[in-house]
Symmetry: C2
Subunit: 133 residues, 2 copies
């Protein structure tokens, strides 16, 4: 079991590895990249027999996102997506289906970011390519 690796990952991020946190981290952080919503995580978790609640899933996802284990992606006024791929990359959003796909950082070359007039430091560069039929 890679359970101990998951636990280590949580501890390394400053998160106490409780039952729910380990369970959700196992679902989300040990497989391949995926885009989930709070709702979809509740479904997936229950399907796997993990007894939990909406509130706890939100708590956990927000914690994971705040400490960098997940990335929040906002595409519309609907639910927030959480991306298990935390590398620098971009997104393609299919407006018709609501599906979201990754775009590796190499797919786009963006120049000029450092020259942007601003006060404060850049905490993220979100790029969403919207596509429809």
């Amino acid at each position: 079991m890679a359970q101990n690796i998951i636990v280590e990952k949580l501890v390394a991020s400053g998160i106490k590895p409780t039952r729910i946190r380990v369970a959700l981290a196992t679902l989300l952080l040990s497989g391949k990249d995926q885009h989930v919503t709070a709702d979809s995580v509740v479904s997936i978790a229950r399907q796997k027999g993990i007894r939990t609640s909406v509130a706890s899933v939100y708590n956990t996802l927000n914690q994971f996102a705040d400490c960098g284990l997940l990335k929040r992606i906002i595409v519309d006024q609907g639910p927030v997506f959480f991306d298990t791929n935390t590398d620098n990359h971009y997104h393609v959003y299919y407006e018709d289906s609501g599906k979201l796909t990754d775009l590796p950082a190499e797919a786009l070359q963006i120049a000029g970011i450092d020259e942007i007039p601003r006060t404060g430091k850049i905490t993220g560069v979100d790029v969403i390519i919207r596509v429809s039929a």
Copy 2:
């Protein structure tokens, strides 16, 4: 009065120029670029003595956005921003204050968009630079 220019602009966009639509279009489309929310439009309108409702403001803003007179900008799970600048351009979002500022298209050079693997056509490229203190 530039009222007739506003009416022409609505008609040209396929929108029947009713009382509320002309009033809001006058507020939004005749001055300089601004970022508004449904809520802020209700306030501004009432301040100017325009009697209207939340529902009508949403209806109107959504219509304007759907026909290209306004641009929707989604920055977080809060209210949707409507941008009166419909030119191709990007945004800087100040996470601490919730303020949004424009970034002219020339500020960033983005290469590779046309080569993105996709099905369907690109309806928008949203770029948000997130900044915090």
